[in-house]
Amino acid sequence: MTGFLQQLVQGLGTGAIYASLALALVLIYQFTGIVNFAQGELAMFSTYIAWQFTAAGVPFWLALALTLVVSFAGGMLIERLVIRPVEGAPELTVVIVTVGLFIFVNAAAGWIWTFLIKDFPNPFPGGAFEAGGLSVSYSTLGILVVVGLVMGLLYLLFQHTKIGLGMRAVATNPDSARLVGIRVGWTLALGWGLAATVGAVSGVLVAPLLFLEPNMMGGVLIYAFAAATLGGFDSPVGAVVGGLIVGVAETLAGAYVEFIGSDLKVGVPLVIILGVLLFRPQGLFGRAAVERV
């Protein structure tokens, strides 16, 4: 039984990693209505920036603050330079551009920082919290707390601010939003900036666990997508719950389902994405989209 509970805790820990990136995916989807394939790579790049600061002797928390600012600015810049020219183009075009961005950012990080792993300082103390034969590392607890905080902030932003309202209007119908006086371009840029910031938080959180190298977030991305799909692409609460469920499902399937084992557990996000899309496309917490023809 303890073994099972320990696996459960392990799954939650892994799920927290997925949830952190899923939050950034949900955020950008809310603001702009697109799925950003480069989100993980941007998070990785932000983490390298944080590493560069700490390597230059900047204390960790200051480095983190600086990184968040740089990431926010960088996200907005990317929106202006890369996304703006294809604004209003078919979904296909935008997706391909984010795939291009994915390839570019990954290679650029390798170019600048090489492909050897870097040691990244852990903001949380080492060791683990022990109770009743279970042990939860402080890193995992820390990630869960931060992810919860970010989730809360995003929820407030989406539901209780004017920006949130405007952003929902932009994502749903840019033309009408413009007509009622919302600055569409500004809102989109804000979305990219905020998503990059949340991504940076995610990268900094997971870097001590996954170890920093250019392909760090590549493996996380598909799980984060599964998390966002499961929770609903328009719900930060959904992203976190989805992430935790994906993490637990993957861990338990790997440990207890003989046929899946540790090698085929990457099939779990595939099954989750397919299942959700076929039976409840809006996800657990999302609102069903009504399409106007």
Binding site: G3, T14, S262
Partner: protein
């Protein structure tokens, strides 16, 4: 009208081009004298052209550091020792991104277009497997490939291809030997990469412990695309094994070491395989967390103060600074490159004929050849029945901020007999 004219011109041009006929490939130069008839493509009295294929991009690009060490060595030899036996070495490096079709393309480019004398290293089992039929068909030496698969030594149909580093099975035998002496009743949990490398090492380990008290009680695999191996680690921890064999590549090696350190209720003897034993893997985990970890090696670690006053290591450090100023000499991959390049130097010097055949025969008749970058007591030996240049390793344990060697060099040939397919 104009259209027809253009069409005719095009066809005429094509016809002219067709009459040229292509230059027959493979018709390289041959030697005269006592080595008569042997191939001398890519080699003259003054020059020697080699080509290597490495993953400079893509998922395995960390290994792209190896050719930097090789280049530095050859540049040094060219500048200060007038090359190998008076021949200046030209070393071409191509990128295959760890993709077998790319490796085939680059191998053909090097052989047919660049007309290299030999392929000096292809990296990775898939890339080497995809190219060795070709190199053997073309009778081009493919020497000291950078993969530890045991196939290179046991196969008899590909005499032109040979490995260099201790193969994964030999390495597994070293750990088995260690456990048999230190923990004869060991229960072992294994984490391995789900590819040729992981399976070869695990398979070799299982064969080496057959009939002993050492048992594998749990095994978990991971994919290189997995974000984290923490779930696998908690599965292994449940087995309550008292030895943990960590068969991983660098990033996952770090993750596994960290996961083991975090789990205070499971404290097995941690054996990490040579691929992930570099100090660059251990440092991110925190040195305080990896004390007492066991591994094995066969070449000198540039981070190890034991070799601080070692002549070859001093030379390596100095020449790396001089000939590869952007490369950090502390990265063990560079030292690996240096070691394999100086091994090639010895093998080439020992060749009876300065021909492709000469090199092929020379790398298969190494007799206790000493290479200064290898550990004292580790030498290269091959023979008609032995296609593995290095089969000895020494155990080491991590203390303070560095590896400390212990025990004697273990010659797996002596302990386990020759390795056969």
């Amino acid at each position: 009208m104009r259209v027809t004219a253009i069409g005719c011109t095009a066809i005429l041009l094509l016809a002219v081009a067709a009459c040229g006929g292509r230059e027959e490939a493979g018709t390289g130069t041959t030697a005269t004298g006592q080595c008569q008839g042997q191939q001398t493509t890519g080699i003259t009295d003054k020059s020697l052209k080699l080509g290597g294929i490495y993953p400079l991009s893509g998922p395995a690009s960390a290994y792209g550091a190896i050719p930097k060490g090789i280049k530095a060595y050859f540049d040094f030899v060219n500048a200060e020792q007038n090359g190998i036996g008076g021949r200046k070495v030209e070393f071409l490096v191509r990128d295959d991104g760890y993709q077998p079709p790319k490796a085939v393309e680059e191998a053909r480019r090097l052989v047919e277009q660049e007309k290299v004398f030999a392929l000096f290293q292809t990296l990775g089992t898939p890339s080497t497997t995809a190219t060795w039929d070709y190199t053997n068909q073309q009778k081009v030496p493919q020497v000291f490939v950078a993969t530890g698969a045991s196939t290179w030594g046991t196969d008899t149909a590909h005499p032109w291809t040979i490995g260099w580093q201790p193969n994964y099975v030999s390495e597994a035998r070293v750990y088995a030997q260690y456990l048999k002496q230190e923990k004869p009743e060991a229960k072992v949990a294994v984490l391995f990469q789900n590819d040729d490398f992981g399976k070869d090492l695990l398979g070799g380990f299982k064969r080496a412990i057959e009939g002993t008290g050492v048992k594998v009680v749990a095994e978990q695999s991971y994919e290189v695309t997995d974000p984290s191996i923490d779930p696998q680690m908690s599965n292994l921890a449940e087995s309550k094994a008292d030895v943990f064999l960590n068969v991983t590549t660098p990033k996952f090696g770090s993750q596994a070491l960290a996961a083991d350190a975090k789990n205070t209720s499971w404290n097995p003897v941690h054996i990490v395989n040579n691929v992930a034993a570099s100090v660059t893997v251990l440092k991110p985990v925190g040195f305080e967390n990896v004390q007492g970890v066991v591994s094995s090696t066969y070449y000198k670690d540039p981070n190890d103060p034991t070799w601080q006053n070692d002549q070859e290591m001093m030379r390596y450090q100095a020449k790396m600074k001089q000939y590869a100023p952007d490369a950090d000499p502390a990265v063990p991959y560079h030292a690996f490159g240096w070691a394999v390049a100086s091994s090639f130097h010895k093998a080439m010097e020992a060749a009876k004929c300065p021909t492709r055949e000469g090199l092929r025969d020379s790398v298969r008749a190494l007799n206790n050849v000493q290479v200064d970058m290898l550990l004292p007591g580790v030498t290269m030996s091959t023979g008609p029945d032995d296609g593995f240049p290095i089969e000895s390793m020494q155990l080491m344990t991590f203390k303070g901020e560095r590896w400390e060697l212990f025990g004697d060099v273990i010659d797996t040939r002596k302990e386990f007999g020759p390795l056969t397919g």
